[in-house]
């Protein structure tokens, strides 16, 4: 049985408001919890389904958590109904402290920037794809979906622990700063730019991908050095933002 205070806390973390207030988030599943324990993030609690505690995968997690002085709690069947965030509880979850990454900390190598991406699945997929192609730095606009949303986390497939993800309170100001202080070039992807096949990898470049419905916001245009479009010759009117980002990251990776 879980202590009531833990159940209450886990339930609070299902809401974005409380995740922000508490600066914590929840990860479910063996892979996610193992990745978290292996990362530099601070894990503060691991909850394991009591009836699985002797199974090898779970035993390993418990040993690892104890070595790192992370509290381990066991839950019963009745607790699971109360704490799970997915239909089927995968037997383990972890509560992790949100690491605040500042824009200066991502000013090293190319940056993938997302402007008002609202779909958690798209954000998660972009993070996973960036990790595949070896991009290290992600910059999220103030109105992009919460990276600690459970759906986003699931779509990242653990890649959230491999990248530096900064969220800005003012995208325009942050971009201006990166351009001025770190000499970044700023490129945006839209439907009327130069052919994307002409893009060349650059160390100090920021690639902005706009929202699924609106594209990059007009106020950013003044600081954009050049815009590119993904060349297509079919009849579709647009591409999904995660698809656009993937195509560009593939073109930029050597």
């Amino acid at each position: 049985m879980l202590e009531f205070s833990i159940i209450k806390h886990l339930n609070k973390l299902k809401q974005k408001k409380f995740r922000k207030e508490e600066k914590e988030f929840v990860v479910e599943g063996i892979k996610g919890v193992v990745d978290a324990l292996n990362s530099e993030m601070e894990v503060i609690l691991v909850v394991v389904d009591g009836k699985l505690r002797d199974e090898k995968e779970f035993e390993k997690i418990i040993t690892k958590a104890e070595k790192k002085d992370v509290q381990v709690a066991f839950c019963g069947r009745n607790d699971i109904e109360k704490i799970k965030t997915t239909e089927t509880f995968p037997g383990v979850l972890a509560v992790i402290v949100q690491t605040e990454i500042l824009s200066d900390q991502i000013a090293d190598g190319p940056i993938i920037c997302l402007d008002a991406v609202k779909d958690p699945g798209n954000l998660g997929t972009i993070i996973r794809t960036a990790d595949w192609f070896g991009f290290k730095n992600i910059l999220l606009s103030e109105d992009t979906v919460d990276v600690y949303n459970p759906k986003t986390f699931r779509s990242t497939m653990g890649s959230i622990f491999h990248l530096n993800i900064a969220k800005t309170g003012n995208l325009l100001k942050t971009l201006e700063k990166l351009k001025k202080e770190y000499e970044y070039k700023i490129y945006s992807l839209d439907l009327k730019g130069e052919n994307h096949k002409n893009l060349k990898p650059e160390e100090r470049a920021i690639y902005i991908f706009g929202s699924e419905s609106q594209g990059t916001r007009p106020e950013l245009e003044k600081i954009v050095d050049k815009s590119y479009s993904i060349a297509g010759h079919g009849q579709a009117e647009s591409l999904n933002v995660a698809i656009s980002a993937a195509v560009i990251m593939d073109r930029l990776s050597s």
Copy 2:
């Protein structure tokens, strides 16, 4: 008010079993319905929210449907609760006859083949992306998700009407036939093939993308001419299937 028989029919079409039996599917929203009416598909019924019938966009749809001798029915507020497939009914839907496309009909130009893709959003996104890059032919394995699933349809953003999408009852046999009778080369995407940057566009080539969790099934290996992998150098273990397909389609499109 809608006739009870129409409400009953629309509700049946929410289930895959009945969509298959009736060989019909439902499309919601202005863009989808307009695309359907402009396509060669057979639309058999258009349902419009009665209180929107005088608005310009809806008026156009009604005129267009009537010109094509398509039945138009109007629904009231109580009907909407019963028939809608999304949270908010977008004011219009159409019932369309499923067009059965045989494998011989797609034997013209490159073919994107999906093996056991289970996620409707991924299937829809792949169809939309194929339409962007100008691919015309899609081949779906017997266990790929239903292309007429409302979620799939929404993710295609109307591109379902621009492509030839064939579903086979036996993928291995269909591929053998396309290889033997139409001299197609068969390429699969996996995690241990040649660098995808070496792929060259070919007219008679089939590109197989496996399921999100399993990859291409082993029984297909014997007919695969060559396998390719998307080169990456980050830490992610795999890519989402829609992302992989997009990267390959971009590389193949000139």
